[in-house]
C-alpha cells in the first residue's frame, strides 16, 4: 500500500484566520479523501478528491495527482473547525483499502 504523510502535525489559529494543510503520498492514488474528526470522535467526510479542485463553503481542496500531494484550505476559521484532519488514500494495487495519514490537530481559539 501507499504511505501518507501529513503536515503540520499541530496547528493553532485565532478565529478568522486561514490555513493550509498538506498531504503527501508515496504513489499514485485512485482515491484521496479528507476527513474531519470532531471532538466527539465522529469522522466526517469532507472531500473525495483523487484529482482537481473542489470547494464546499469555507473549505476547499486541491489534489495534484502527478506530483502526489493534496492540500486542504480552511478560510475564516471558526472554533467548530477544531479537531483532527486526516487525509487517506489508496491506489489501484491489491491493497485497495484507505491508508490514513497521521493527522493534523487543529485548534481554533476564540
Amino acid at each position: 500500500g501507499i504511505q501518507v504523510e501529513q503536515s503540520p502535525p499541530d496547528l493553532i489559529l485565532q478565529e478568522g484566520a486561514n490555513s493550509t494543510l498538506r498531504c503527501n503520498f508515496s504513489d499514485s492514488v485512485n482515491n484521496l479523501q479528507w476527513f474531519h474528526q470532531n471532538p466527539w470522535g465522529q469522522l466526517i467526510n469532507l472531500f473525495y478528491i483523487p484529482s482537481g479542485t473542489k470547494q464546499n463553503g469555507r473549505l476547499s481542496a486541491t489534489t495534484v495527482a502527478t506530483e502526489r500531494y493534496s492540500l486542504l484550505y480552511i478560510s475564516s476559521s471558526q472554533t467548530t473547525d477544531s479537531g483532527v484532519y486526516f487525509c487517506a488514500g489508496h491506489n489501484s494495487g491489491s491493497a485497495r483499502q484507505l491508508t490514513f495519514g497521521s493527522g493534523t490537530q487543529l485548534t481554533v481559539l476564540p
Binding site: N30, N31, G41, N45, R96, L98
Partner: protein
C-alpha cells in the same frame, strides 16, 4: 452516500471477556472494512470483511483475536476476543460502494477494558 450504523456506541468491559460490534449499512456495498483507532493515534486497518468468505487481515491482526463475519452485502460484525486493557480503542466500521467511490465510516464503538 452510504449511512453506516454501529452498535454499541460505547462499552466498558472486563478483562478476558469478548465483545461483538455490529455494523449495518443502509445500502448494498462492495467493500466493508474494520479499523482501530488507539488513543491519540490515526486509524489502522484491522481487516477487509469479505462477503461469504474469511476476512483478509492486516499484518499484526489475527482471526483468533478479531473474528469477523459478513453474511451479506449490508452487514458485518467484529468480535474483540479475550480483551485486555491494550484493546481499549475506538473501533470503526467502514464501507465503499466500489473501488473508485468514496469510503464512509460509522460513528465508531468506544471500547474501554478494565
Amino acid at each position: 452516500s452510504a449511512v453506516i450504523s454501529q452498535k454499541p456506541s460505547r462499552d466498558i468491559c472486563q478483562r478476558g471477556t469478548s465483545l461483538t460490534i455490529q455494523c449495518q449499512v443502509d445500502s448494498q456495498v462492495t467493500m466493508m472494512f474494520w479499523y482501530r483507532q488507539q488513543p491519540g493515534q490515526s486509524l489502522t486497518l484491522i481487516a477487509t470483511a469479505n462477503q461469504g468468505s474469511e476476512a483478509t487481515y492486516e499484518s499484526g491482526f489475527v482471526i483468533d483475536k478479531f473474528p469477523i463475519s459478513r453474511p451479506n452485502l449490508t452487514f458485518s460484525t467484529l468480535t474483540v476476543s479475550n480483551m485486555s486493557p491494550e484493546d481499549s480503542s475506538i473501533y470503526l466500521c467502514s464501507a465503499r460502494g466500489g473501488s473508485n467511490q468514496p469510503q464512509h465510516f460509522g460513528d465508531g464503538t468506544r471500547l474501554s477494558i478494565l
